[in-house]
């Protein structure tokens, strides 16, 4: 039932005032979420020493009085300096690889867990779930990597990340939505288990693959701590690591070209969030499917 909007009539006034305040509240809240990001975006395009309250990517040249908009000097530095663009390449590579491996492991695992009659399937599922509540801890895991000779290898980052029990269980709940009769029909027609997996399960789970793939991709793109733990060579760090590095080490950032440190830092932040900003508006529904699916688990 639609209420009339009227701030004076006592019948409608309380509700109407509430709507006004609610709207103002959410405008404020959205600003609180967005302004920090907008501020960084602007600072990344203003190469001067005083930022203060500036919220426009514009500076006024002191001598000529001309307005300079969208100064891209910091971005030029990022795409020309190997120390800054190479981590970006590493990020792209590890994100793609982790997403692929992650989807491979989750789909295979989830498909096997569907087989209720298979001897040992209960043990497999307990083995998976147990890792959610207990693990060896930071140091024993580190020592295992060391024993395996995986220190300073990107596999030490990608392999553990591609095994995510939560995503695997989520994938299984998606698979459970596929009618069982389809499997039976395919089996009668002489389809092998692998054939069923490739010809029936995967094509019917495109939405699941998209949303769980996005989970893996976002996690891999954001990963930082595994690099701190396992990677030692400068040419294997990802962009998150490099970004953090810029904030901890002031000298390196400002050396050479006359770019203000904070301009470069801001530009690096923008570069690390831009790929996500591109896909977010189009993929929001996939992110949501995953979460609501997880929320109504079982």
């Amino acid at each position: 039932m639609k209420k009339k909007f009227n701030l004076i009539n006592p019948q409608y006034a309380p509700r109407s005032w509430f709507v006004v305040f609610n709207t103002l509240f959410f405008i404020f809240l959205m600003l609180a979420m967005i302004v920090p990001i907008v501020k960084i975006f602007c600072d990344s395009m203003v190469n001067e020493t005083v930022y203060g309250l500036k919220l426009l990517p514009m500076t006024v040249d002191k001598e000529t009085g001309k307005q300079i908009w969208f100064n891209t000097i910091a971005y030029k530095r990022i795409i020309t300096d190997p120390a800054l663009y190479w981590p970006f390449v590493i990020s792209v590579y590890t994100t793609l690889m982790t997403t692929f491996l992650g989807l491979l492991i989750s789909t295979l695992g989830a498909y096997v867990l569907l087989q209720k009659d298979m001897p040992g399937v209960k043990i497999f599922s307990y083995m998976l779930l147990f890792t959610m509540i207990f693990n060896g801890g930071l140091i024993p895991t580190f020592l295992v990597m060391k024993n395996l000779g995986l220190l300073d290898s990107l596999w030490a980052v990608m392999l553990p990340m591609s095994m995510n029990v939560y995503n695997l269980v989520l994938m299984r709940s998606f698979f459970e939505g596929i009618p069982y009769s389809l499997f039976e029909a395919a089996e009668i027609d002489g389809c092998t288990p692998m054939g069923i997996f490739i010809k029936i399960v995967l094509p019917l789970s495109k939405a699941a693959l998209a949303s769980i793939g996005l989970f893996f991709a976002v996690a891999a793109w954001s990963e930082y701590f595994h690099y701190v733990m396992y990677i030692k060579s400068a040419n294997k760090y990802n962009f998150q690591y490099k970004l953090r590095d810029l904030f901890q080490d002031k000298q390196e950032a400002s050396e050479g070209v006359d770019i203000n440190v904070n301009t470069l830092k801001s530009a690096a932040v923008v570069v690390s969030i831009v790929p996500f900003m591109f896909i977010y508006p189009f993929c929001q529904k996939y992110f949501m499917t995953g979460v609501t699916m997880g929320a109504v688990k079982e």
């Binding site: 609610n22 040992g120 083995m127 060896g136 024993p140 692998m194 830092k265 932040v269």
Partner: protein
């Protein structure tokens, strides 16, 4: 099995033996192989390393190619109990996570209730899109953004304030501050910044589960209440809140199980000047183990943390079974 009313009693369906079934599912074992390999190598093998918790094991012994020395027994745990940095880390873990947990619950529930009141579908969509956005930024990015907007300036003495961040600039402009404050190196301000950063990043995302619960409340209840003359406020208090109480409790205990896990958000924001309020168990383990190379002692700290976590998870599981009939794992 036998049902007397069933006319098919005489039909004996022989269940295939385990061997036959294993043969039938042979390809599935092959498919599970990659999963099992990763699982065993990266999750189960490290569990064997828990034994180092009962040893002295430092890096210099590795270079000498001698293994861990188990003569210490429970010595690491005795050392743990006497260690001031450990006590501080334990206290900080509890304080930071529990206050954050309560703030998260209050903020997300209130905001979910208010989002639910937005009538305009487009408005609602835009609000949700914007509020969910920070969740997808990494902790490194979130911390970087906060460091930039909170920065006091390039100089610690406060003399040169050319890089004064947004927040300090506002406070200076309004006249609340005379000189810029470096929030992240102040023990008083750091926890507040950390709570705000967490709320900035996760509040919107936290509302999703409550919004799902809210959308499943039957509109009949509200119609009935309206006929009975209940106002909007009363409807919220007597219908909406009780309807999502279960969800609130479940989310609360789920998060309670994760109290000991606070790590990356602290790791990217803290610095040596504020260890007294920011050092948590995981960051302490990292510094002792990876930076200090004291593997035995840091494994003991990690084990202590894992055991407490395990207890919390089990307790949450029991409570969850009571509330909603099934556990959390």
């Amino acid at each position: 099995m036998a049902n007397n009313n069933d006319n098919f009693d005489h039909v004996i369906v022989k269940k295939p033996s385990v061997g036959e079934r294993m043969f039938k599912y042979r390809w599935f074992y092959l498919m599970f192989l990659p999963v099992a390999v990763v699982l065993i190598i990266f999750y189960y093998w490290p569990m064997l390393g828990i034994r180092y918790a009962f040893s002295t094991f430092k890096l210099k012994q590795i270079t000498l190619r001698t293994g861990p020395d188990y003569s210490t027994g429970l010595g690491n745990f005795a050392r743990l109990m006497d260690s001031d940095p450990f006590h501080a880390a334990f206290k900080n873990t509890l304080v930071l996570s529990i206050i954050n947990l309560i703030l998260a619950m209050v903020c997300s529930v209130v905001i979910a209730l208010l989002i639910n009141e937005i009538q305009n579908a487009w408005g609602k969509k835009i609000v949700q899109t914007v509020l969910y956005l920070p969740h997808f930024l990494s902790w490194v990015v979130a911390a970087s953004i906060f460091m930039l907007i909170l920065s006091a300036g390039t100089d610690a003495t406060g003399a040169d304030t050319s890089n004064t961040g947004f927040i300090n600039a506002i406070l200076l402009q309004v006249g609340i501050l005379k000189t810029p404050i470096d929030f992240l190196t102040s023990s008083k301000a750091w926890p507040v910044v950390w709570y705000i950063m967490n709320r900035w990043k996760e509040t919107g995302w936290g509302t999703i589960i409550y919004l799902a619960a809210l959308s499943s409340i039957s509109p009949d209840l509200y119609e009935a209440a309206e006929i009975d003359g209940a106002g909007r406020l009363k409807q919220t208090w007597y219908i909406t809140v009780p309807s999502i109480m279960n969800t609130i409790l479940v989310v609360f205990i789920l998060n309670l199980a994760k109290v000991m896990n606070v790590f990356e958000s602290v790791f990217v924001l803290y610095n040596s000047l504020v260890y007294d309020v920011s050092d948590v168990i995981q960051t302490y383990t990292y510094r002792v183990g990876i930076v200090g190379n004291d593997y035995g002692y840091s494994t003991a700290i990690g084990l202590f943390k894992s055991v407490i976590s395990l207890i919390l998870v089990s307790a949450s599981d029991v409570i969850s079974k009571k509330i909603r009939g099934y556990g959390i794992v």
